[in-house]
């Protein structure tokens, strides 16, 4: 288990460092988060999912509020 922890932590640290470097380079080279979100929204319809889950949560909270 100790060796497993060592290996996993090593992988995680390396991956996080690489990811941070990629993000840094992306930001430095002119990445735009609004443009990325817009693109993802177009591709995966994130707004629709967000709106739907928000409505579900509100209904559940309203139900719980009626109960108590």
């Amino acid at each position: 288990m100790k060796n497993g922890w060592r290996v996993i932590l090593g992988i995680v640290v390396v991956a996080v460092v690489v990811g941070a470097l990629c993000c840094g380079v992306g930001v430095l080279t002119g990445a735009d988060t609004a443009r990325i979100l817009q693109n993802l929204n177009d591709h995966f319809h994130l707004d629709a999912y967000i709106t739907a889950y928000t409505d579900y949560a509100k209904q559940i909270l309203k139900f719980l509020g009626n109960l108590f």
């Binding site: 497993g4 992988i11 690489v18 990811g19 941070a20 993000c23 430095l28 990445a31």
Partner: protein, 548 residues
């Protein structure tokens, strides 16, 4: 580096954050250099210190049971018989240091350290052959094939920790033992008491140095010395002719002609004084020197008794020399009357020495030794009346200070009784009583009634975070995978792709970490919980009984 190498205007236009990066990089480099200057040299030492502190904290926490359990785990590389033997030795060590358990653990440092010590001394290939034969009889390390190195290593640790328990070496079988006194031949019996006398002779050289001025002229007393000169000349001739005999007689000469030996030592140590006092001796030949030396020394120190003791035993012809008292010896007779009483004391010291070399096995043997000692005293007393005139003149015995040093040694050797540590040590080394655990069934049922629900609740509590972390891990991994796919499918700008890939990699890494956390919670912590409850049940509901 590329950013730093560019001109500032170009760099700022392409990379708006470059001034911040450069300044922060400089600051980081400065901090790193400061750290290196102040503490960097001793990073290895710090790590060692931290490791030592960790070991120390471990020592503070663990107790005997944990120590032995950990050591048993670490010694799994050994054969089972050897491992059990080593563990029994450590258990015995803890038994001895029962009151100072923490002290012992602190000195043993850690189970890992002990395992390393044993591993260094353990030769698996060598033990492979011997273990099969030892498995028939576990306690035959010392008798059959010699002590294994790992046992010696543990014994060394034991010796360091318990110096008072160290084993006194047993005498060699060929060595003359005090208990064999009745069986010793007369020659050996004559040789034995000479040892302490020789010591006394050599230790009393200072007395002679004080009275060297009183050395008489050798020409005045040439008559009694002639007999001795003849005998000594003969012996010297025989020495020149036959070397083996002279070699054999070296030890006898040392004690048979002690005055000549002392004279030799004196001539080596203070040659100037002797030349000043007796100028004839420098001119005279060596045999003449040996003629005059006994008498002169005899007169000065009035020591015919010890001479006689030693000379009588080896050279009975020299009685003529010894039995003639001189004026100075008469004067010193009264002064040395007290010292003459020290004869039996030195004999006792000699006997005590021989007793210390004797094989200590049983108390009966000690009693036997005492009786033999009494017999030896009687025999000495029986010998003494044969020279009643010269007895009070003996001065070549130990001075009072040396007697005071010897007598406590003799008492200590009797009081401490080296038999006890050696037997105790042997018992310690071989005592490995096999035990087995007998369970108390009603108590175990009672324990299980309480422990099972508690364990289940704890397992459930542990299962919740494990499941949560697993779900989170799966979600993060899925999200990371989606981001990687979308990065390569739906984006055209390189900067956006890099940002998405970076965040995807970080999410996958976190997902992996959470997944491992879930596995660890289920596989390790829950198993530890169940194992500890089982151990608790064994500890509370069982007891060790000797195996049949």
């Amino acid at each position: 580096m590329i950013i730093i190498g560019l001109p500032e205007e170009t760099r700022d236009s392409f990379f708006p954050l470059s001034p911040v990066i450069v300044s922060s990089g400089r600051a980081l480099v400065k901090i790193f250099l400061d750290l290196w200057r102040h503490k960097g040299y001793n990073i290895w030492a710090y790590s060692k210190e931290i490791r030592r502190m960790m070991d120390f904290s471990e020592v503070n926490v663990i107790n005997r049971q944990k120590f032995l359990a950990e050591l048993a785990k670490l010694l799994t590389f050994m054969y089972e018989e050897d491992r059990q033997y080593a563990m029994s030795m450590y258990e015995r060590m803890f038994d001895i240091a029962e009151d100072d358990e923490q002290w012992l653990i602190q000195h043993l440092m850690s189970p890992t350290r002990q395992a390393v010590v044993i591993a260094r001394a353990y030769d698996a290939k060598e033990r492979k052959l011997s273990v099969s034969s030892q498995s028939k009889d576990e306690d035959n390390y010392e008798e059959e094939e010699g002590t294994p190195p790992f046992v010696l290593a543990i014994n060394k640790i034991f010796d360091d920790l318990f110096p008072e328990e160290t084993e006194i070496p047993e005498p060699v079988e060929d060595q003359v033992s005090f208990f064999e006194l009745g069986e010793i031949s007369e020659e050996e019996e004559q040789k034995k008491p000479r040892m302490p006398k020789a010591a006394t002779l050599l230790s009393n050289t200072q007395e002679f140095t004080l009275d060297l001025d009183a050395l008489p002229n050798p020409e005045e007393e040439s008559e009694p010395a002639t007999v001795e000169s003849e005998t000594e000349a003969e012996t010297e001739e025989s020495e020149n002719e036959e070397m083996p005999e002279s070699a054999e007689a070296d030890s006898d000469e040392l004690f048979s002609d002690p005055v000549a030996e002392i004279k030799k030592i004196l001539s080596e140590s203070i040659p100037e004084e002797t030349t000043e006092v007796t100028p004839e001796e420098t001119v005279a030949e060596i045999p003449i020197e040996s003629e005059t030396a006994p008498e002169s020394v005899e007169e000065i120190s009035s020591t015919p008794e010890t001479e006689e003791d030693s000379v009588d035993e080896v050279q009975p012809d020299a009685d003529t020399e010894v039995t003639e008292p001189t004026e100075i010896s008469k004067v010193d007779k009264a002064d040395n009357s007290e010292e003459s009483e020290s004869v039996p004391v030195t004999d006792e010291a000699g006997l005590a020495e021989s007793e210390s070399f004797a094989e200590p096995e049983e108390e009966s043997s000690v009693e036997q030794a005492e009786t033999a000692e009494g017999e030896a005293k009687e025999s000495d007393e029986a010998k003494e009346p044969s020279v009643p005139e010269t007895e009070p003149e003996e001065s070549l015995t130990l001075p009072p200070e040396n007697e005071a040093e010897r007598i406590p040694d003799e008492k200590l050797s009797k009081e401490e009784d080296p038999v006890i540590p050696s037997v105790k040590r042997k018992k310690w080394a071989r005592k490995s009583v096999p035990t087995e655990q007998a369970m108390n069934t009603p108590l175990l049922i009672l324990f299980l009634i309480v422990a099972i629900p508690v364990t289940l609740v704890l397992l459930a509590l542990l299962l919740i975070p494990a499941l949560v972390s697993m779900v989170a891990a799966v979600c993060l991994c899925a999200l990371g995978a989606v981001l990687v796919v979308s990065a390569f499918s739906g984006f055209a700008v390189l900067a956006d792709i890099l940002l998405l890939l970076g965040s995807a990699i970080a999410m996958l890494a976190l997902g992996l970490l959470l997944l491992w956390l879930a596995v660890w919670l289920i596989g390790s912590v829950m198993r530890w919980l169940v194992g500890s409850v089982r151990e608790l049940a064994i500890r509370w509901c069982s007891r060790e009984v000797p195996a049949e």
